[in-house]
Symmetry: C2
Subunit: 164 residues, 2 copies
């Protein structure tokens, strides 16, 4: 088990596309979308994982920042993952993850496809909740605590169906 | 992935206790109790597993027998399992599983403890839905399709709270 401390932001404009990136296609779906215990199946190329995320544990308990979660990740056979996607609650989420280095940190820029096309978010993993970092110029508003942007929520209510 | 074909029965009386058995204590809880995609954490001694069960898949689809389910099982570290129990939806189920051989088949007799004390059920795993077997003398009514007896349901509404 690890503690994942992650902040999530909207991405403004298209300037991020000029950055050098390592990109991979991710397909993922949820066996549980309960925020207290999400269970995610993810496929990237010929690799697959089962990932469980909880709400904050231990010393983080009671904090409402929404950025620290317990995380458990297990590699699973690709064939299992493909069958688990079929068992999932709601359609799979399809996205391209672009890993972009900026000021010594790695940003994961998720470009959503399908029913979530048009949504681009950037996540950064931190070692502590208070860790500072330098924002890339294309970084928009923070949405770490906005449940609509949880991938588990995007599966149920995709971006294209949002009322804006 | 395997297909689990299992039938479940009540156990009558105490005669089953006279049978030779291999017994182990099991502690398990659920990250998802949705019958379409249960996610179970189980600890037996110093071993632990994450198990996902779906509703019938493929050629079983559409059948309503309730005895065939897709099953995916992964061993996980004991320390992870202990933390996952704390994330689970509802309290853990505590039981002693007695494996009893009868007429060439292995019966798993689950003697529930805690809030489910008093409940004893026997399960048999079959190679096909139509496979015949010889019932031990202590076998009672079949409850394969009775959702109250699903372990995932016993966690939410334990046997001691049933209206009988």
């Amino acid at each position: 088990m690890g503690i994942e401390i992650e902040r999530k932001f909207l991405v403004q404009g298209e300037a991020w596309r000029a950055a050098e990136a390592q990109s991979e296609r991710l397909c993922q779906a949820y066996l549980s979308r309960d925020p207290a215990r999400t269970v995610r199946v993810r496929i990237a190329g010929d690799q697959a994982w089962l990932t469980i995320k909880g709400q904050a544990l231990g010393k983080f308990q009671g904090e409402s920042s929404g950025i620290s979660r317990a995380e458990f990740e297990y590699p699973i056979p690709l064939a299992d993952a493909q069958q688990l996607l079929a068992l999932a609650d709601g359609p799979a989420i399809d996205k391209i993850r672009h890993r972009i280095r900026h000021a010594g940190m790695t940003w994961e820029v998720d470009e959503f496809l399908g029913d979530n096309a048009g949504l681009v978010v950037a996540e950064i993993e931190l070692a502590s909740e208070g860790q500072s970092f330098e924002a890339p110029p294309w970084l928009g508003a923070e949405v770490s605590s906005d449940a609509r942007y949880f991938n588990s929520a995007l599966s149920r209510l995709p971006y294209r169906h949002w009322t804006r």
